[in-house]
């Protein structure tokens, strides 16, 4: 990738159009851009959600994301990658995470997009806490489907303790 990947962890909202423009600015070798946006829903398991808090491990987060991006760049011929993850308190409808992957052809762009979000979900140190309308809060439990989705890409790193 000419300019290297863009990885950011921030409380501020991300601007998808600006990120797309930055990823493709002056680049005419890109033929395909896959993207994923994760957003805060307003209900979970039938309960109304008032807000969500994203906690993270600052010293490790960008390093973990950079490692995931490096792995994707090794697996596919990517021409650009952007990963932005928000932290702090978010309202329903707000964006949580943005992944962009650009390549000459769509197969690599779409596969890398799926890989990046699947690995991010199981390997980057973020934790979600849901705040409900009734004043209670709960930490989101990890889903076995997420582990399965990440493992399906193969070559997992050593299992954690």
């Amino acid at each position: 990738m000419a300019d290297g990947p863009r990885v950011a962890v921030q409380p501020a909202p991300f601007d998808v159009a600006a990120e797309l423009a930055a990823l493709t600015a002056g680049r005419h070798d890109i033929g395909a851009i896959g993207s994923f946006v994760g957003t805060v829903r307003d209900s979970v398991g039938g309960r109304r959600l008032a807000a969500m808090t994203l906690e993270h491990y600052p010293a490790m987060t960008e390093r973990a994301l950079a490692g995931i991006v490096a792995e994707a760049t090794q697996r596919w011929p990517l021409l650009g990658v952007t990963v932005i993850h928000r932290v702090g308190r978010l309202q329903p409808g707000e964006g949580i995470v943005l992944v962009l992957a650009a390549s000459a052809h769509r197969a690599a762009a779409l596969a890398a997009t799926g890989f990046l979000i699947d690995w991010l979900k199981t390997r980057a140190p973020f934790w979600k806490q849901e705040h409900f309308d009734d004043g209670t809060s709960a930490w989101v439990a990890a889903r076995s489907e997420d582990e399965a989705a990440a493992a399906a890409w193969g070559e997992a790193p050593p299992p954690p303790a």
Binding site: G38, A64, P159
Partner: protein, 84 residues
Amino acid sequence: MAELRILYFAWLRERVGRSEETLELPAEVRTVAALRRHLIARGDGYPALAEPTVRVAVNQAMADAATALAPGDEVAFFPPVTGG
């Protein structure tokens, strides 16, 4: 530094009752597994560290029970991640 820096996140932070602390590395604590046993023995909120789902990172890299510890290391305990 002759000390370990220990961090806790998400519900483990709430259960332990703190987000970080420093610890003069006891002579018998040479691995992640030994540190975990040492902390659990304190009682109060620390037995939460015995939950089998708890993950650990040493110096910001995922680690496992056998990972060796040395003075100056940063050790983080946390639940399975749920970002994205």
